[in-house]
């Protein structure tokens, strides 16, 4: 029977009714990083704890990927069905700026500073029917209008 599996263990809480990205915070200097690491890249302390990152932030910068990447890109797309996708860094208050795919790919609808939510959705379906879940950044307005 097919099931939903996270694209990587430890990247976000899963399964969960309200999944969240998982970062690590240094107990020595206070900085956060994503994905969770075993040591702090700012001060090299190994005293770090894993915590859930905020689910809403503002877009720090972005681009649109207009061509289909070569391997290790792994989706269900073919060169014929590939659709350009947005990529950006979402600034999560009190946390870090996390890089991820945007649900929006129209450059005219993406602006620095716009509010976005971290959402979780199926990234690809494996041959055995398993749905591989990943995270995406979705404009807040699109959420609220249900678009």
């Amino acid at each position: 029977m097919s099931q939903q599996v996270p694209i990587a263990e430890g990247l976000f809480t899963w399964p969960s009714t309200e999944p969240a990205l998982l970062g690590s915070r240094c107990q020595h200097c206070g900085i956060a990083t994503f994905p969770a690491a075993q040591s702090c890249m700012a001060c090299s302390s190994q005293d770090v704890t894993v915590e859930e990152l905020p689910s809403r932030g503002t877009l720090w910068t972005w681009t649109v990927q207009q061509f289909m990447p070569k391997s290790p890109y792994h989706s269900n797309e073919t060169p014929e069905t590939f659709k350009p996708y947005g990529v950006g860094y979402l600034e999560l208050p009190g946390g870090v700026r996390v890089e991820g795919r945007l649900t929006e790919s129209d450059p005219d609808k993406i602006t620095i500073g716009m509010e976005m939510d971290v959402v979780f959705d199926t990234w690809r379906t494996e041959d055995n029917g398993d749905e591989v879940i990943s995270f995406f950044f979705k404009p807040v307005d699109a959420n609220e209008t249900g678009a």
Binding site: I31, W60, T61, F67, P69, P72, H74, V87, V98, E99
Partner: protein, 380 residues
Amino acid sequence: MDVAIVGIGIHPFGRTPSRSGLQQGAYAAREALKDAGIEWSDVQFAFGGSASSGNADSLGNELGLTGLPFINVANGCATGGSSLMAAYAAIKSGEHDLGLVVGFDKHARGAFNANPADLGLGNWYGEVGLMLTTQFFAMKIQKYMHDYGISNETLARVAEKAFTNGALNPNAWRREPVSAEQVAESMMVNDPLTKFMFCAPGEGGVALIVCRADKAKEYCDTPVYLKSAVLKSRRYGSFEVFAPSQALQQVDGPTVDASRAAFEMAGVGPKDIDVAQLQDTESGAEIMHMAENGFCEHGEQEQLIASGATRIDGSFPVNTDGGCLANGEPIGASGLRQVYENVLQLRGQAGEHQVPGDPKLGYTHVYGAPGISAVTILQR
């Protein structure tokens, strides 16, 4: 002990189906030996590297096996700069008098496809489509344009200048001028950067003969002195390629750090530089690197580039050989190509792309994944 460059050699950049990357390196090495008037057997040590064409040490099979210490260098886009820095230190320490620095490469067509594991990243990062250097460059210039008022027209002008200069350089890959309009209207690759605003992985080889300064005139009438050679890696908080997350507080990147250290070592400042070769992986990089290397204020590029200041006949010529945009980027050779070009410029041998006014100080800068930068300052 100061260090001089007394011989330079290049294999033309672009596509050469008849020669392997290694053979292009050997070609460049023989040219450099000839330029210095020495034999391969005179060379006491060598540092070299390639990313896709095997170990530089294999050049021994092409040039002859003399028993010299030949050290392979692998440091991404800063491979050439790292080799030169190592050779600089070997001579400065007094250990050796005369050595070879060489870089070459031959890459497949299309964007580099990096392996996440090589950079300590999970496979998911590549699977979802984030493992692309082009995205980083696009996102960095996107933010920069937003913060400092750089326009799309300026991005196009940088590429137009690169192809104009490439057309004047017999060793360049792209030798046809392309107008700013054509650049702007070419296919969008990663917004705001179009196809003609990006360099492509390519082929080529460059070699340099370095020696202790007090012996330079034995080999060369017009030695060029290496006043500084600095390599820096990123500090925590700089915005870098292949970063799944980054700090909320930004600090200066490795380019700024390397530049400051290089100026300090050479005892000169940005205003003293007559010609500069700055990493132009894409148009935006040249713009940002002008400021990061201390040559202007952030945002000032908009007016400087519109006024033609960075052209060969401008007040501050940048990428006079066409840069990465017109030469492509064979990783192992790319940083050394910049040094080759500056030596030509300082000798007054750059032909159609010669900077007027008898330049005396040249500056080179490379930047690459995952956040490293190498700078040299050369003096006639």
